[in-house]
């Protein structure tokens, strides 16, 4: 093994254990001489005791350390293996094929230059094969090898091989996948894996390893594109130096080059490419660099340094493919964290165009996406970002969605195109400002958001509070859950998705009313933290007050003013908060009212005190 510079190829293997995937990977590692002697000894011993090949070397055992972990309930997304030849270093992403398959395969495919789809020669192209091909295409893996395995079990029959590769070509064509290369092989014996098979004189193509060694994947159509350099961090060791550090996502960067920043739009020139020993003359796609500018322009983490002649687009609404990766389903309208490169914003799914059945390739209508489902959705962000369609650039078109409370990654997405250019949309400027309206009302607008279980006493307290405010001459309005559901929201049910939309509409209406100068009392169960946070973010600073009407479930159920709890308990009412649907209590409400200790009248006084205090604090 020489130590000359080598290229790097990352590939993904798709197929289930039955197709001989582990055996194939084990065989590649073993025949490429990349299994350590002590591991080989362990393999020989394990093959005798737990092997499935009658004491002969069972190559699957080299990579199959996973069964014990599965028993322990450990999720294995993707296992990574490494081997090298004289020409190349390989990183193999191995996604185990169980029920989490879509999520795993998508993760493994996201970094792969090439995918090996494994097929059992006896079974031919199955639904599973189509699913693999579809996901590989969706993630933009450019090269596909069809490994037709177990050829020994069909007596190396050329017709079988031709039929299988022919029917796969048809599938590939339908999906839009580039022409795959098909190789007949028998993994346990190593035929056509590394050594040419003596059983298939009719096959003139390369062995699998030959192909992997030679295929041109120069990752890097990205190399030929205009410069894109997302800024990860700004280096300021002292006042006279500002360096912008990041990994080049496309093209080349050189000193003297004219650049434009996106989304900010500023123009400047590259002064230096700073490195430890001496400055670089060029930085290419995939390279981590630090640059300086000739001018003192503003540039923070998240900006993308672009070729001035051909800068990145910026937009805040997109159509994108979304792969849902969380046990909790997608809720349209709910705000999620959105990360693309070094840009972090807030995003909502505004529409699910369709979901994709990965087995039949049919498009279905959908109101939500569940774990491992894939959909085409529209997204709205809270501010514009610099991007490229995923097809063009994975770094600038691939994103993740993050749950704002658990901070977990709930989805991976691929931007298809922008729905409208951000620079074309403007808020309609209004001549009468909200400040003028509020001044005319002689009051500061506010939203008092009462949240709590059904029967906690929200409506009662809201009524008393409004009377007291009215008596003080304030202009007020109550938005009550039950009433709104008769009108504005009568098209909505009680599923989680509808509850999110219910609250989103109410929050928007409440905001419009504060624009008009009103004090709005919202009396809604509003069970989810995310939507209450959404409401808070919609309102002006200091005008939103979350009041938790805290009644223990037992107490609310005991009162059962509307008889709803008994209906819910008997199963007549589905999705009932506290019984068959969750309530997420506020973690830091502006005020918490324990109804077991306070009368409704006292509760209303507490809320008035809170408002008065906030006003004083605001004026101080």
């Amino acid at each position: 093994m020489t130590d000359q510079p080598k290229s790097l190829l990352r590939f993904l293997t798709c197929g289930s254990v039955d197709d001989g995937k582990s055996t194939l990977i084990g065989r590649l590692l073993y025949d490429a001489g990349c299994v350590y002697d002590d591991h080989s000894a362990a393999l020989a011993a394990d093959s005798k005791t737990v092997g499935t090949r009658g004491g002969e070397l069972d190559f699957a055992l080299l990579v199959d350390g996973l069964s014990a972990e599965r028993e322990q309930g450990i999720t294995i997304d993707v296992a990574y293996r490494y081997f090298e030849t004289a020409q190349r270093k390989f990183i193999v992403a191995d996604a185990p094929g169980h029920e989490q398959y879509t999520r795993n395969m998508v993760t493994g495919a996201s970094t792969a230059d090439l995918a090996i789809l494994l097929i059992d020669a006896r079974k031919g192209v199955l639904a599973q094969t189509r699913r693999h091909a579809l996901l590989v295409h969706l993630l933009g893996v450019r090269h596909v090898v069809l490994a037709v395995n177990k050829m020994d079990l069909v007596q190396w029959d050329e017709t079988v091989f031709n039929n299988v590769s022919q029917s796969f070509s048809e599938v590939a064509q339908r999906i839009g996948l580039a022409a795959p290369v098909a190789i007949p092989l028998a993994a346990p014996q190593g035929d056509n894996v590394v050594k040419r098979s003596t059983h298939a004189p009719w096959y003139a193509g390369p062995t699998l390893l030959d192909y992997l060694n030679r295929v041109e994947v120069e990752t890097d159509s990205a190399l030929a594109q205009p410069l894109r350099l997302p800024v990860q961090t700004v280096l300021r060791p002292h006042l006279d130096f500002r360096g912008f550090a990041g990994m080049v996502a496309a093209g080349e960067v050189r000193p003297g080059q004219e650049v434009r920043l996106a989304p900010s739009g500023a123009r400047t020139r590259i002064a230096r490419l700073v490195d430890t020993d001496q400055d670089l003359q060029v930085g290419v796609a995939g390279q981590s660099v630090t640059v300086t500018f000739t001018d003192d322009v503003d540039c923070a983490r998240g900006e993308v340094i672009c070729a001035a002649s051909d800068p990145c687009e910026a937009a805040d609404q997109f159509d994108a493919h979304l792969v849902w990766m969380s046990d909790a389903p997608l809720l349209p309208g709910r705000p999620y964290g959105f990360k693309l490169g070094a840009q972090k914003v807030s995003a909502q799914v505004t529409d699910i165009r369709h979901k994709l059945n990965v087995n039949s390739m049919e498009r279905w209508a959908a109101k939500t996406l569940e774990l491992n489902e894939i959909g085409l959705v529209s997204l709205a962000l809270d501010r514009p970002i610099a991007f490229a369609p995923y097809e063009q650039n994975k770094d600038l078109g691939g994103f993740i969605l993050i749950d704002r409370i658990a901070q977990t990654t709930v989805a991976a997405g691929m931007i298809r195109f922008a729905l409208r250019r951000a620079h074309n949309i403007h808020w309609q400027a209004l001549d009468i400002s909200r400040e003028k309206r509020a001044a005319a009302m002689g009051q500061r607008p506010a939203v008092i958001w009462l949240t709590g279980l059904s029967g906690a006493g929200k409506s009662t307290i809201a009524n008393i509070l409004e009377k007291k405010l009215f008596a003080e001459g304030k202009k007020t309005l109550i938005l009550d859950g039950d009433n709104i559901r008769h009108g504005l929201n009568k098209d909505l049910g009680f599923s989680d998705a509808d509850r999110v939309e219910n609250i989103r509409r109410v929050a928007e209406v409440a905001r419009l009313m504060t624009d008009a100068g009103l004090i709005v009392i919202v009396s809604f169960i509003s069970p989810f933290r995310s939507e209450r946070d959404l409401a808070r973010r919609l309102m002006a600073e200091g005008e939103f007050f979350e009041v938790f009407i805290d009644t223990p479930l037992e107490a609310a159920e005991r009162r059962d003013v509307k008889g709803l709890y008994s209906k819910a308990r008997s199963g007549q009412l589905k999705h009932f908060t506290g019984v068959s649907s969750p309530y997420e209590p506020p973690e830091a409400p502006d005020l918490r009212i324990e109804t077991e200790r306070l009368a409704p009248d006292q509760a209303a006084d507490l809320i008035l005190d809170m408002l008065a205090n906030a006003r004083q604090a605001g004026e101080a």
Partner: protein, 301 residues
Amino acid sequence: MAEPLDHLQRLESEAIHILREVVAEAERPVMLYSIGKDSAAMAHLAKKAFYPAKPPFPLLHIDTTWKFQAMYAMRDQVAQSGEFELLVYKNKEAEARGINPFDHGAALHTELWKTEGLKQALDLYGFDAAFGGARRDEEKSRAKERIISVRSANHRWDPKSQRPELWRLYNAARGPGETLRAFPLSNWTERDVWRYIQREGIEVAPLYFAAERPVVVRDGGLIMVDDHRMRLGPGETPQRLKVRFRTLGCYPLSGAVESEAETLEQMLAEMDRSQTSERQGRLIDHDAAASMERKKVEGYF
């Protein structure tokens, strides 16, 4: 058009990208420094990632008091170079109880000095992200490790709550009390680390190169008699053999191999001829009760 990057340049760029990303998202990062070759490579990458600024985090050595003399010398040299702030932490309880590999066994020794020591140090300084030099090729159970892994408030690794990792996109968001472990060398192999050390001219402890050293044969391995605290079993007599180490840790737990490779070039050539995994010499992995998986759940790096 310029040349595409070779595989070492791509690994280097990936590691630098990870270092910068975690630094951008964490409040108080730290780099664990074990004085071994992986740490040497990581520290070098840190210098490159933030040059001309100093790396915006300290190095942290979790000391067990049982490292090789030559490792302490190397550590002092790094501290004196002024290129990094270097913190050293010793678990007070382990120190008070005199925990050592001879009386207490490899498992307890490692748990108290390293696992507990690390947790204490992270809490003491309030670090919310720690870089480690672990690689996925080291051991079967590491093959599925994330590049960025989330630990609960009490530093436990919950295998069920690990996040999917796509593209070069890392979710470094943390809930209250949660901390991160980040592994910039995840995709490197042992050979890559050595080739990088060679290409960049990075200094490593001389223990990695063959020299005559006093050793005893124990459990089939060669253990170096590094200081007077080494306890000899009945019939064990130190002999001088030409040996080198593939991994460094506590000297009574680190097995040497006989070797003639006095330089990096000779060592790479020797690696090509004989292929054993570097963990073979690591006694803690052979301890039957201590699987890597379990140690990780408890908070071992």
